[in-house]
């Protein structure tokens, strides 16, 4: 079995052409990026605004949990029935998958911003939008990134479903392999998905360290932070019930 797997990977045809591994990986990443980007545009602002106003937090949790419980394949079939074949149905199914973790990350990140800092910001005359963008969003970045990472990993793992509706991506190997009982091909496809997940996770972790504002940020140039080591990394606090008066 292992020998046949190695054979599958080492066949020259596997590494070029429209059915080759590089193409499939790029297709797979393309579906992922598209779905994550659409979900981010929807979920991040929505979560941030809800986290700021603290109105509708319960609804968010409910909807997010509801979405999480949906079976992706069932959703895909439903969208195909409604919308026909094409890129749209699998993308929508993946968007629904990516929304909950990002929504939760943005919501809890913004709502968990230090209440003292928010109070001070308002008290010194920041407008609500300035409080959100200048104080709460920077504080939310670690949790937002966590949500984005989690969503992306789920989408990478699930984007194989695109192959069910005749699209490409790494799901092709799994589905095609299954239909002709070519187990090395199936296993090879699954392995590539797993490796891709790990690589994506590592890349996102690294990127995250560059965009996190504050003392923990990684900087390529400029003065090193002499005291950075002494700083406790920020632990997000759960949103506390706010006094309604503001």
């Amino acid at each position: 079995m292992l020998g046949r797997l190695v054979e599958w990977f080492s066949a020259p045809a596997q590494w070029s052409g429209s059915a080759g591994i590089p193409t499939r990986v790029l297709e797979h990443l393309g579906y992922t990026l598209l779905a994550v980007a659409i979900a981010a545009v929807i979920a991040l602002p929505l979560g941030a605004v809800i986290g700021h106003t603290r109105r509708g937090g319960l609804a968010v949790v409910g909807v997010a949990n509801g979405l999480r419980a949906l079976p992706e394949l069932g959703v895909l079939v439903l969208f195909v029935l409604l919308l026909g074949l094409g890129l749209l149905p699998p993308t929508l199914a993946l968007v629904l998958l990516a929304i909950p973790p990002m929504l939760a990350g943005a919501y809890s990140g913004v709502a968990g911003a230090d209440p003292g800092a928010v109070d001070a910001a308002r008290g010194m005359g920041m407008r609500e939008s300035q409080i959100l963008l200048q104080v709460e969003v920077p504080a939310a970045v670690p949790l937002v990134l966590g949500g984005v990472r989690f969503a992306t990993l789920q989408v990478v793992a699930t984007a194989t479903i695109a192959a069910y509706v005749g699209l490409g991506g790494l799901g092709r190997y799994i589905i095609d392999g299954f239909s002709v009982r070519d187990f090395p091909q199936m296993l090879g496809g699954a392995l590539i998905v797993a490796v891709l997940s790990i690589v994506v996770e590592l890349v996102l972790q690294l990127l995250g360290r560059f965009v996190t504002p504050g003392p923990d940020r990684l900087r390529l140039r400029g003065r090193p932070d002499r005291h950075a080591a002494a700083a406790p990394s920020s632990v997000p606090t759960p949103p506390s019930p706010e006094r309604p008066d503001r």
């Binding site: 230090d114 001070a120 005359g125």
Partner: protein, 363 residues
């Protein structure tokens, strides 16, 4: 000037935070609101910058009702310091302080220059400006909080228990710092605390509040200590108020006595200058170093009475409290008086202090 006119606040849940508070905080003075927890101090403070909107009455700032106009605009003209400091963790200290100037429309460059100025004012080292808030001690964070409130150059400052989260030693430092700043800046400060000692130290006038924001007494600290209007206030200012009040009574009428002294640059304890008497040992620059007992043994000086108040560190300078402390803590039965520079001036006789006390007793 901040004027509360029958200010009432009933919260959405029905809690009455303030019944009807009327009070005037004078221009250029520190007005302290003090009272037990939940009595409405924070609520009244926050009606000034409209972080709380009163449900009745009005707050006037320099004669104008704060309820008119844009709250954000109003707040940019009022410094605000809170207990938790509330620094922005993702901004360096200098940029935290530059926040209000930027909001006021200064360029980032000008705002930073202004921030650097203010940081120096509150006694923060240049090196700290580039740090992150998490890299500061609690006391330093509070200083940054004060600097941030001063950076907008607002004439009015609201301070809500700004020093209560730091340890007592640092708290006293910060209080001294505030008094020093205030001597320069002459802001109109409304200061909330639940610590009566802090209120008495800082306040030009102190308002003691009961639950519901009911004003129990509003008076300068010495009057509060001398004549509490009722049991609530006297209970609040404490049993040792008589002693504390001494800190407000000048000891100008106190006559210093001569003590036997012996100059000694080498710390040599060969024996008393005057046999059988307590003698003050002076160092090379005339500062008292120790007592020499009648038997020639060295004893601690005890606390000294600083005659003039130039030295900000000497809290009780020139007051009866300083004189009494010196007399009572000396092993010789008589205290040592020094000038602002610490040079020997004379002795304080316990009987003289007590006689003065007798004459200044409130009737």
């Amino acid at each position: 000037m901040i004027e509360f006119r029958d200010v009432g606040k009933r919260f959405a849940d029905g809690t009455v935070g303030l019944e009807s508070l009327s009070l005037t905080a004078r221009e250029g003075e520190i007005t302290v609101l003090v009272g037990p927890s939940g009595c409405g101090k924070t609520t009244s403070l926050r009606t000034v910058n409209r972080m709380v909107e009163p449900t009745s009455g009005a707050v006037l700032l320099a004669g104008r009702d704060v309820a008119q106009g844009d709250p954000a605009e109003l707040r940019r003209g009022i410094g605000y310091v809170i207990q938790q400091a509330g620094l922005f963790p993702h901004r360096r200290v200098i940029d935290n302080v530059a926040t209000v100037p930027v909001l006021q429309g200064l360029s980032r460059r000008e705002a930073r220059a202004r921030a650097a100025e203010v940081l120096e004012r509150v006694g923060l080292d240049d090196a700290l400006a580039q740090r992150w808030p998490a890299q500061l001690s609690g006391g330093q964070q509070q200083r940054v909080g004060v600097a941030r409130a001063l950076a907008g150059d607002a004439p009015v400052l609201l301070m809500d228990e700004p020093f209560s989260a730091v340890d007592p030693v640092v708290r006293v430092e910060l209080q001294d710092e505030l008094l020093r700043l205030q001597a320069d800046l002459g802001k109109t400060i409304l200061f909330v605390t639940h610590d009566i000692d802090e209120a008495i130290r800082l306040g030009d006038r102190v308002a003691v509040l009961r639950v519901g924001g009911r004003l129990a007494q509003f008076a300068p600290p010495d009057e509060l200590l001398a004549q509490p209007v009722d049991d609530f206030v006297s209970g609040f200012v404490g049993r040792d108020r008589g002693y504390r009040r001494l800190g407000f009574l000048p000891a100008t009428a106190l006559r210093l006595v001569d003590l036997p002294t012996r100059a000694d640059a080498n710390g040599d304890t060969a024996g008393p200058a005057v046999p059988g008497e307590w003698t003050v040992l002076l160092d090379g620059s005339e500062r008292p170093a120790a007592w020499l007992g009648p038997d020639g043994a060295r004893h601690d000086l005890g606390s000294v009475y600083v005659t003039d108040g130039d030295d900000a560190a000497a809290d009780a300078a020139g007051t009866l409290r300083g004189a009494l402390d010196a007399a009572l803590s000396s092993p010789a039965g008589r205290g040592v008086a020094v000038d602002g520079a610490g040079r020997y001036r004379g002795g304080v006789d316990t009987d003289d202090v007590l006689a003065l006390l007798d004459r200044s007793a409130p009737r």
